[in-house]
Amino acid sequence: MSRIVGIDLGTTNSLVAYMKDRKPCVVPGRSGRTMVPSVVAMTDNGLIVGDPAKEHLTRSPDRTVYSVKRFMGKGLADVQGELSYFPYSLTEKDGVIRIQLGAKTYSPPQISAMILKELKQRAEAHLNESITKAVITVPAYFNDSQRQATKDAGLIAGLEVLRIVNEPTAASLAYGLQEKTQGTIAVYDFGGGTFDISLLKLKDGIFEVLATNGDTHLGGDDLDRRIADLFLNEIQTEHHLDLSAFPDHMQAVRLEAERVKVRLSDELKTQVTIALPDGKGRYTRELTRDQLDALVMDIIEYTLAPCRMVLKDAGLTPADIDAVVLVGGSTRMPLVRQRVRELFGKQPHCDLNPDEVVALGAAVQADILSGGTTDMLLLDVTPLSLGIETMGGVMSSLIRRNTTIPASAKEMFTTYVDGQTGVDIHILQGERELAQDNRSLARFRLKMPPLPAGIPRIEVTFLIDANGILNVKASDMRTGQSQSVEVKPSYGLSDNEVERMIEDSFKFAQEDVIARKLIEARLDAGALLTTTEKSLSEGSQLITPDTMVAIRAAAAALTTTKDGNDPKAIRARMVDLEQAAQPLSVAMLDESLKRNLQGKKVTEVM
């Protein structure tokens, strides 16, 4: 079986890892850095991803996308409250957010696919083989639409997504592999955009998730915003400047806020410096760790409610927890560590690199799927209750939250009116009483045989697979025939759209390759022209006038072709020039040999 890689597709950074000699390791980039910033920028020369794209955040903020994970599986109405924070423009089509980049719009899975492709290429270059299969991690509290969107992103990137794994659970695999512990552990995962808390029982290689909780819209981004808002307010009062009119400066403030937060994890105070537009000089101030803590205290507190909830759901107390594992960059904050320690009454475990542990765990899960690791097994749960809307707009739960997956539930449907040919079914996910307060996942129409009311009996099976993704099947209990169910997702791409995006992505990939070849050919042609020119100026006396004319003609032809768009033609003219210039090269080589031999004794040459 071909290799399966493990991918952590993060809000701020993404990583790819693989199994090497039964140990997971992260693939480094050319610079040696393992993290790829989850940033995509549209430049005049095409799309770029990662570190180079990050530089465009302040240069062309309206065409540089970051934190796209916050939009996965969402509609525009879901993110209305934070639109003003993003410098790029968002629209919606068929319940799916679209991001405007230049003349085109892209769905969040398409943007995520660009990041995945970068990781894929990175792994291919490092391992020197083609990579087509992956395990991708998602926050444990991701709902069905968000998981499906992640799977779509993989498909668009040309990856078969063999498994969607929950981030805290993946982290527990890496932790368990390293520490060989048994007992009950809590994984507190506070990342760039999401928060998860999971409780697991580790016993004899089985990693059984007992309960999970979280918030898919709570992370380091929110801490940065709080800090940035403080700076922006002060700039407003001290310098009478409203930076919201300057998207590039807004980004500079956001990035400085992030850097300040990171520095204050190691230092007790730090200096803030932000250049202001219109020659208004600089904004500077000192920020202490205590001031930062006071500023973000309530956000950290928000993470504790899910922690208490998860203990309650699992029927455990803090004393039952043997170890607390910290995951995600935000857990580097001393205040976070302090609050976690206070809640669980024990020192959290921070020996693992919180940035890499999820990707490492994904690589372990990939190895389990490929049959390499056989002694470990993950038994995960569904984070949210799944149900259907019943009469009166009430949600009737079919699969409760924290049920071990795969999980299935069967429900029988019949008709209320004679000759009724269908029943509309609305699938929901969430914990609230009323259908309207829960997440709408999908709708479908169940076909009914036209019979007297109450006679048809159609059994619908709702199955949540090991990825936490819902599958629906229906069968007629009277005839035993199964019925195909066409589920229309409420917040997601249809199969056709995904198909089209895969094609587009393939087309872009070809265009990208052509663009790169063109750039390389032009560079090489330029270099050849320069060296030929140099040779001509040094050795024109060594060749015949005819050769000289031929070289000049070939060089002129290459100069013209170089400005065109055909890399093949450029390469062909380069060959012509090299051939025409060959007598010159040969003559110059002879000449230099002759010069070297002059003045030397024969014995020295021999």
Binding site: I368, L377, S408
Partner: protein
């Protein structure tokens, strides 16, 4: 009576003899075909006790149950079928889902008892809508207090008094619920002892029916009590 066929001794007979979906050789309830070693779908007729290789008893060794769950998870989990055929992947998915439901049901003593009642007496779970007779007055009074509390101004003295009453009532109800559970536990033990005797005589049958009826009544009272407490807790927070 129909349920007389469901004594523990006849359990093996219930298991349908069938064929391996892959090599058509005979399989009788094994999870893997003896000839071609392909995974077999867990039959719809297999009850959860049988699935775990356990007798139909209401007292279960939790550690053994967990160990068996882990063992069967290693046999069925889709993770281990990634390189197998599509048919095997589908069976693995279905079996794993069934296994998870079975474990969830058997792990909890109340759900386990409700499931056993269902198997033995074919009962649909009875949902009580009116309070048990011995609690009628008390529940009625509680409902009135609850309504008065909901309508009261939370800052007032009256509201504080009502709240204190409700807190006391909650403790009393939880005490009753606990007593019910202890009563149930005794019935569970009696049931297991009767099953262990394996007696099929008329007296044993009467005893069996009596136990089933008592368990059913107590279980539905307990569910009613639990719902009242949940409602109470939701109101007073």
């Amino acid at each position: 009576m129909a349920h007389h066929t469901h004594t523990s001794g006849s359990r093996d007979l219930k298991m349908a003899r069938s064929m391996c979906w892959h090599c058509q050789s005979e399989v009788s309830g094994e999870y893997f075909c003896e000839r071609c070693v392909k995974v077999q779908p867990v039959s719809k007729e297999t009850d959860y006790f049988t699935c775990f290789g356990l007798p139909r008893r209401l007292t279960i060794d939790q550690r053994k149950l967990e160990a068996k769950f882990y063992e069967l998870s290693r046999a069925f989990h889709p993770d281990f079928y990634q390189n197998k055929s599509e048919a095997e992947q589908t069976i693995s998915l279905g079996n794993a889902a069934t296994l998870n439901t079975a474990y969830r049901t058997l792990r909890d003593p109340i759900q386990r008892a409700e499931y056993l009642l269902d198997l033995e007496a074919g009962s649909v779970k009875e949902i009580r809508t009116s309070p048990p007779s011995d609690l009628f007055e008390e529940i009625l009074e509680l409902q009135e207090t609850l309504e008065a509390y909901r309508a009261s101004d939370s800052a007032s003295e009256a509201s504080r008094t009502l709240r204190a009453q409700l807190v006391a009532e909650q403790a009393a109800l939880e005490g009753r619920k606990h007593a019910l559970e202890q009563q149930l536990q005794r019935l569970f033990t009696d049931w297991d002892a009767l099953q262990d005797r394996g007696d099929a005589g008329a007296q044993a049958c009467a005893e069996r029916d009596r136990l089933l009826k008592q368990m059913r009544d107590l279980l539905s009272n307990r569910t009613y009590m639990k719902n009242i407490v949940t409602d109470l807790v939701a109101t007073i927070g």
